[in-house]
């Protein structure tokens, strides 16, 4: 029997992000939100493992009160219950804060395994998983593409630069998973309709009894854009010279 916690983040739907062509600022006023794509694999893996080995999955998210909308979506994907840690102060949390808040909230829960996505769909700092494991003082394997459970051991296949690393670690443990680990199920209609009946535990900042200071300051976020000038060049010597001239004039090289 496995008690698994699957962490997920409610992020801006990247397809809805518009860019102001003059200022390069992100225009988010009509953006919708969705469960971070990477975290869908975490939820799926948790649910699939409990189907295979028995047990239950708890989906956990930290965010603004508006992230409440994410709970039915997450629960429709299979977890038995959710923990919703929210506060109006949880605006633009950075990974260190999210990990600390999660650790504080989870510390009194029973769990064998915590699964996170490899990174979030917005910041993609890839830090919450490892930091959370550190706070909880449990072993952590990141970038996992396959999980097998043998008794109280977890065997993880990790994708590393040089190839695949296979490691084993004792439970309780934390893993961050890669998209290749599974293919998340699409919730059925009745899964969605019954999600509203599943239990949700709400935790607010005051329940946590401490504040979580940030260590970073975001000065501004700007979009990169690709602009074409549609200048065409041939492969002859003169043309190459002209090509370099244009690059110099544009200030791309000097």
């Amino acid at each position: 029997m496995l008690n698994i916690i699957a962490c997920f983040k409610w992020v801006i739907d990247h397809e809805d992000i518009k860019i102001n062509p003059e200022t390069h600022e992100l225009v988010l006023d009509r953006a919708g939100y969705r469960i971070s794509d990477y975290d869908r694999f975490a939820i799926e893996e948790a649910v699939a493992l409990t189907e295979q080995y028995g047990g239950s999955t708890t989906a956990v998210t930290v965010g603004l009160p508006a992230a409440k909308k994410s709970l039915k979506d997450a629960l429709a994907r299979g977890p038995e219950k959710a923990i919703f840690i929210n506060d109006p102060a949880f605006h633009n949390l950075e990974p260190s804060q999210t990990a600390a808040i999660l650790a504080q909230s989870i510390s009194n829960q029973e769990y064998d395994l915590i699964i996170c996505g490899e990174g979030s769909g917005d910041l993609y700092a890839q830090q919450v998983g490892p930091r959370l494991a550190e706070h909880l003082n449990i072993p952590c394997a990141s970038f996992v593409r396959k999980i097998t459970i043998e008794g109280r051991e977890l065997i993880a296949e990790r994708r590393v630069d040089e190839g695949i690393e296979v490691i084993s670690m004792p439970l309780p443990a934390l893993v961050t998973v890669l998209p290749e680990i599974n293919s998340p199920r699409v919730p059925g209609l009745k899964d969605t309709l019954s999600a509203a009946k599943k239990p949700v535990v709400e935790i607010t900042a005051s329940d946590l009894g401490q504040t979580f200071a940030s260590c970073l300051e975001t000065v501004e976020i700007k979009a990169t854009t690709m602009e074409r000038n549609c200048e065409k060049f041939g492969a002859e010597k003169d043309e190459l010279k002209r090509f370099i001239d244009v690059l110099c004039r544009a200030g791309v090289v000097d």
Partner: protein
């Protein structure tokens, strides 16, 4: 007045989008090309409880409101109009009259397997000599002891080649006026004397299966009369009223797909050194598209909303259908225009959209028939 979708409606729509990306988009081109019934998509729809959406859970449905059902058909049609229609025909045209007019036994026996997706449904009203003029039907049903004997030919029966359960209309009393002469029957594909004709090779919605139905001394149990004798015309009209909301939703989905494709393509295609989307001529096409889609969507949701409230909606359903169908055809053609020559080539989605859009102006009552319904209502 509240135009806001509920959290549940948004989620269900998003789930259908996800379903489409995973199961429908990858094969939509192939099933159109081969005019193939997407049995694997239908099986998945059944597995995920979409086949009986708006009917009560006691019959295996999901108990959804009609408005949300409408959004689901729209979303599915955005990926594949043929699959969208296969589902809306199954739910609206075939299961609808059994739910609305069937006895408890008929619902248990026929509606439940339809809702669970174990059976597929079809609706056989049109005949070679009776299209818009429904009352001109010449298929007959005669009571013989404990059975009705049906004779005649139905045509353009969607889902015909794959359906298990048919709602069939036949004349039971020639002496009556057209609107009292017909009755409706539930006919199983296994009934003796029941034959499915060849699948028609169509211009659009090619993955939807369409055929003739040939009834030759076809014997069905007396209990399979739907409603009362003489109620057939009323059952047909009421069924088409709600079916039309489904066609309107299908048209909105097609038009939305035409806009999606146009935006994507016009931003990528470079001519005269800039994306073609920078030309006002094309911007206006897309602005009109977006505006008409919103208008059609509101008309469609309004008709569905009225139905959910138990209010009359015949006129509103006809308005939604004619407006949505005509705007979908117009804009699918514009979408091809925006794609230039590439839009005319097989494999580009807009080419399929243009062929698929046209049918929405024809079936479940032509645009002319919708205008007759609307005029009849406003000039009464």
């Amino acid at each position: 007045m509240d135009f806001k979708l509920t959290e549940e409606q948004e989620l269900i729509r998003a789930n259908m989008r996800e379903f489409c990306q995973k199961y429908v988009d990858p094969i939509a081109v192939e099933i159109d090309e081969n005019s193939r019934y997407p049995a694997e998509i239908i099986a998945k729809l059944a597995e995920m409880d979409w086949m009986g959406m708006p009917y009560p859970q006691e019959y295996g449905g999901a108990g959804l409101d009609y408005l949300t059902y409408t959004m689901v058909i729209e979303e599915l049609s955005r990926s594949c109009a043929a699959t969208g229609f296969t589902l809306s025909c199954h739910i609206g045209l075939a299961s609808g009259p059994i739910y609305n007019f069937g006895t408890e036994e008929q619902k248990q026996k026929y509606l439940t397997p339809l809702c669970k997706g174990e059976h597929i449904g079809a609706f056989a009203l049109t005949e070679p000599g009776a299209g818009t003029d429904v009352g001109a039907g010449s298929t007959t049903a005669v009571l013989d002891g404990n059975e009705y004997i049906l004779n005649g030919t139905k045509t353009f029966t969607s889902n015909g080649p794959v359906a298990d359960t048919f709602v069939v209309f036949a004349v039971t009393d020639k002496t009556q006026r057209a609107n009292k002469a017909m009755s409706a029957f539930i006919v199983s594909k296994d009934a003796p004397g029941f034959k499915v004709g060849e699948h028609f090779y169509k211009m659009g919605i090619r993955a939807s299966q369409t055929s003739e139905i040939i009834l030759k001394d076809c014997r069905i149990p007396k209990e399979n009369l739907l409603g009362k004798e003489g109620q057939g015309f009323k059952i047909a009209m009421q069924t088409l009223d709600n079916g039309r909301i489904g066609v309107a939703a299908q048209a909105v989905g097609i038009a939305q797909a035409a806009l999606d494709e146009s935006i994507k393509y016009s931003k990528e295609r470079i001519q005269f050194g800039k994306p073609i989307s920078k030309n006002q001529a094309l911007q206006w096409m897309m602005a009109d598209m977006a505006t008409d889609i919103s208008a059609a969507q509101f008309l469609t949701y309004n008709a569905a909303y009225l139905k959910d409230q138990g209010a009359p909606y015949t006129k509103e359903a006809a308005m939604a259908k004619v407006f949505a169908a005509e705007m979908a055809s117009r804009h699918a053609s514009k979408a091809v225009q925006i794609h230039g020559g590439y839009g005319y080539i097989k494999g580009f989605k807009v080419e399929r959209l243009m062929r698929d859009a046209k049918i929405t102006e024809i079936y479940e009552g032509t645009s002319e028939a919708q205008r007759m319904v609307i005029a009849g209502n406003i000039l009464r």
